[in-house]
């Protein structure tokens, strides 16, 4: 049952991941990415990482991707051209090299096996993770909170409407 579910989720994840990078329309990409996150959340659940699964949905799907969609809609981005593999010499090179190296890597990786004997049946309950977060990782946790605050302020400053009369030099840039 779990194995079946895993492959289902894996297939969902991979397929939607592929869609993310192949869709012309950024909105479609974003929605497929959400789907991909769902797949991952499912796999997390299969590994008893409930808290992470919930956070995955709430944060990634519920917050970050909504932000993406917002931006896409705000900017009214037109569907972009897909990479034209045939006319860009450098991109052909990129793809070739990446695929070859990635294939080599994958081949090498497949030959190796992780010791899966020691399955710990560990469950990622909220309480256990909270215990870690607020005891061992309290400082990183606080720092992360600060980071978020800084990011918000930075984002607001950056995306703020520019002054009504931009200087000439700014226009030139």
């Amino acid at each position: 049952m779990e194995t079946v579910l895993f492959y289902l989720f894996a297939a969902l994840t991979l397929a939607s991941g592929l869609m993310v990078i192949t869709r012309r329309n950024p909105v479609a990409s974003a929605l497929y990415l959400v789907l991909c996150f769902f797949g991952l959340a499912g796999i997390y659940v299969l590994m008893d990482a409930y808290f992470l699964a919930a956070i995955q949905i709430a944060v990634y799907a519920g917050a970050i991707m909504v932000l993406f969609l917002f931006v896409i809609m705000l900017l009214r981005l037109e569907p972009t051209e897909l990479p034209s593999f045939m006319n860009s010499w450098s991109k052909r090179l990129y793809v070739a090299v990446t695929l070859v190296l990635g294939g080599v890597f994958l081949g090498l990786d497949l030959m190796r096996t992780v010791n899966t004997g020691a399955d710990s049946a560990l469950t990622g309950e909220a309480g256990a993770i909270a215990d870690r977060l607020f005891n061992r990782y309290l400082l990183p946790f606080e720092v992360t909170a600060l980071l978020l605050l800084v990011a918000i302020v930075g984002a607001v400053v950056m995306a703020r409407r520019e002054s009504p009369k931009p200087t000439a030099s700014m226009e030139e840039v």
């Binding site: 993310v20 950024p26 956070i55 993406f68 931006v71 990479p83 990622g124």
Partner: protein, 100 residues
């Protein structure tokens, strides 16, 4: 129970997909999304190893990655918006402010 090796391979493939997206797509937004894809692949690896080692630290790091990803998304999207306001596009091929 499913084979954790396969989960790792899934993570690798997801990461490769993300990498390909970063390298190939011209739209800054899609590149950004591809980066999220890569981050998620890493998260998956972390969760798998956390499970294997019987140690929650991997999941805690996952949590931090998500939090940082949120911050990164906020800033990154703000940059994209600011860029778009100037250039009226988010095409990375035409984004050459670094070029004198």
């Amino acid at each position: 129970m499913f084979d954790y090796n396969h989960a790792l391979i899934l993570a690798f493939m997801l990461f490769t997909l993300g990498t390909a997206g970063v390298l190939l797509r011209r739209s800054a937004l899609v590149v950004f999304m591809s980066i999220e894809l890569m981050l998620n692949a890493v998260n998956l690896v972390l969760v798998v190893f956390s499970r294997l080692r019987g140690d929650l630290d991997g999941q805690v790091i996952c949590f931090f990655i998500m939090a940082v990803a949120a911050a990164e998304a906020a800033v990154g999207l703000a940059i994209i918006i600011a860029f778009f306001k100037r250039k009226k596009h988010v095409d990375l091929d035409r984004a050459s402010l670094l070029r004198s």
